[in-house]
């Protein structure tokens, strides 16, 4: 489903965000991407939804070669990928319902589809009881649930979450991860970039550990740290 072959990302300043990355994520997998700030976690996610382009190497998502993808085809790729951010990315002047419906409206979905899909997905993330609330009337956890609902409303086969619990307390974070797991069980491929040790250790899923742009560990069932992966000593 997602394949990276010899992928490098470097910037004009000389900074190398990703270095010779080879990685495959199969359909229906759940994986954590871990590592310190600047390790290349977010860059990896941005490459998948074509927000960035690799300097070298090949990326394939759902059998599409992103290197050869034309600009006008990018929106159609993004309709197959839901993205959740640390800062939720909700529109403050739209209600919960409108925020979620917005994702369908901008891709030209029929009104009947919107009327059917939005309440369904809000129920899925346990926000069906507050469709008319505005984001500033919700807690952080609730806002993140709405953001997840928006990412899911189009029923994408891939869900990417970039530090989805970064702004949340541990209890709420656990709830969000349980929700992502629930979505994964329904058949969606889920990739979560996180700093949260407790969640990774508890879930016991595939772990992709990055350090200074390099994939230093890939364990099918792993924790945030392992005996083989240690912080560099001064």
């Amino acid at each position: 489903m997602i394949e990276f072959k010899d992928v490098c990302v470097s910037y004009a300043s000389g900074w190398q965000a990703l270095h010779n990355l080879n990685l495959t994520v199969e359909k229906g997998e759940f994986a954590f991407i871990v590592g310190p700030t600047g390790a290349g976690k977010s860059t990896l996610l941005k490459l998948i939804y074509r927000d960035e382009k690799p300097t070298q190497g090949t990326i394939r998502v759902s059998d599409q070669n992103l290197n050869e993808m034309r600009l006008r085809d990018i929106p159609f790729l993004r309709r197959k990928i839901g993205v959740v951010y640390q800062d939720f990315g909700l529109l403050p002047n739209k209600t919960v319902y409108e925020n979620v419906a917005f994702a369908l409206q901008v891709i030209g979905a029929a009104r009947s589809t919107i009327r059917k899909q939005v309440p369904h997905v809000l129920e899925l993330v346990a926000m069906g009881h507050r469709p008319d609330s505005f984001p500033n009337q919700l807690s952080g956890g609730e806002q993140q649930r709405v953001a997840i609902a928006r990412a899911l409303v189009n029923d994408p086969p891939i869900l990417l979450a970039d530090e989805p619990t970064g702004n949340l307390d541990p209890e709420t974070s656990m709830g969000i991860i349980q929700l992502l797991n629930h979505i994964h069980v329904r058949g969606t491929t889920v990739l979560v970039a996180t700093h949260d040790h407790a969640i990774v250790d508890m879930m016991q899923r595939r772990v992709l550990a990055f350090e200074r742009g390099k994939l230093v560990r890939d364990e099918l069932v792993g924790a945030y740290r392992s005996a083989e992966f240690e912080e560099p000593r001064p």
């Binding site: 006008r72 790729l77 993004r78 891709i107 030209g108 189009n154």
Partner: protein, 297 residues
């Protein structure tokens, strides 16, 4: 594009204008002021140009006086000869009897003392091109070529000044209008860029959920069109009101230079022109402003 998508986009543009009320008001105010200055300047230049263009035509004539003793047949022959000259539009013979009758009516006391008509026959030569008045008058002053002509009267110097004035107005006014047009486009572009910048988060979300660039652009273009059109309508009204006041003031001066010149453009046409200009500038300005944001897909 599907109909329900179009309805959504138009609704979205309307909601954005309403929800970002203060920003919309600021954009509308700026566009209105810029268009009023541009429209006012264009209108002033246009009227000045029209005025300057019409003035030389008032002096577009050379009067040729023949000797008082000259025979009518000489005047007739000269009239026919001059009519064949290039750049001559019309030659009118004013017989001395007719002129005398007119003076007698206008100045009865003065003419009573005179027993005979002292006036000569006169030829009024009207030209095609007012700039040629001086050179043609010079030809008539050549006694070898036009020995029948005793006196030549033209408004050479005045015409030269007016023609130069018209030319300066055309160049300066044209340059100023182009400069103001570019400045207005820049102001509108910058204003709309600010409104787009304020909504960069929304644009980003639209991009992330898979909206096509066209879908993202359309509501922003509609907003630009709205700001430009409404700004143009208000500016059009302001320019017409100010223009009417200025016209009334100029007419009240009762200057001999100010005549009843029929404008080539009616007030309705000026209004439509400024409104259309506003609409076009609004769309072009917003297109340029959003191009940068939407291109970063």
């Amino acid at each position: 594009m599907k109909l329900h998508s179009l309805i959504f986009l138009i609704g979205e543009a309307g909601r954005n204008i309403r929800r970002n009320g203060l920003m919309s008001l600021a954009a509308l105010g700026t566009v209105t002021v810029a268009l009023t200055v541009l429209g006012g300047s264009l209108w002033t230049t246009f009227r000045l140009n029209e005025f300057a263009r019409l003035q030389p035509e008032r002096f577009n004539r050379i009067d040729l006086f023949l000797p008082a003793t000259s025979d009518r047949s000489v005047a007739d022959a000269l009239q026919k000869r001059i009519e064949k000259l290039p750049n001559v539009k019309n030659v009118e013979l004013v017989p001395k009897e007719e002129a005398w009758k007119l003076i007698q009516q206008q100045e009865p006391t003065l003419t009573q003392a005179l027993e005979t008509n002292p006036l000569p026959d006169k030829l009024e030569v009207e030209l095609e091109d007012p700039t040629q008045v001086s050179s043609l008058a010079q030809q008539f002053r050549d006694h070898k070529a036009f020995s029948q002509v005793e006196k030549v009267v033209d408004a050479g110097e005045e015409v030269r000044t007016l023609v130069n004035f018209a030319r300066i107005i055309k160049i300066v006014g044209g340059g100023l209008s182009i400069g103001l047009f570019v400045a207005t486009l820049f102001i509108i572009h910058n204003t709309i860029r600010l409104t787009v910048f304020a909504r960069r988060r929304e644009v980003r979300i639209m991009q992330m959920v898979g909206a096509t660039p066209g879908f993202i652009r359309l509501p922003l273009l509609l907003e630009g069109l709205f700001h430009g059109t409404i700004g143009g309508i208000i500016a059009g009204v302001l320019v017409l009101l100010c223009g009417r006041e200025v016209s009334l003031f100029v007419t009240s001066l009762k200057s001999p230079l100010v005549g009843n010149q029929a404008s080539l453009l009616s007030p309705a046409q000026i209004f439509v022109l400024i409104t259309l200009m506003g609409a076009c500038l609004g769309v072009v300005g917003s297109f340029l402003a959003i191009r940068r944001f939407v291109r970063q897909i």
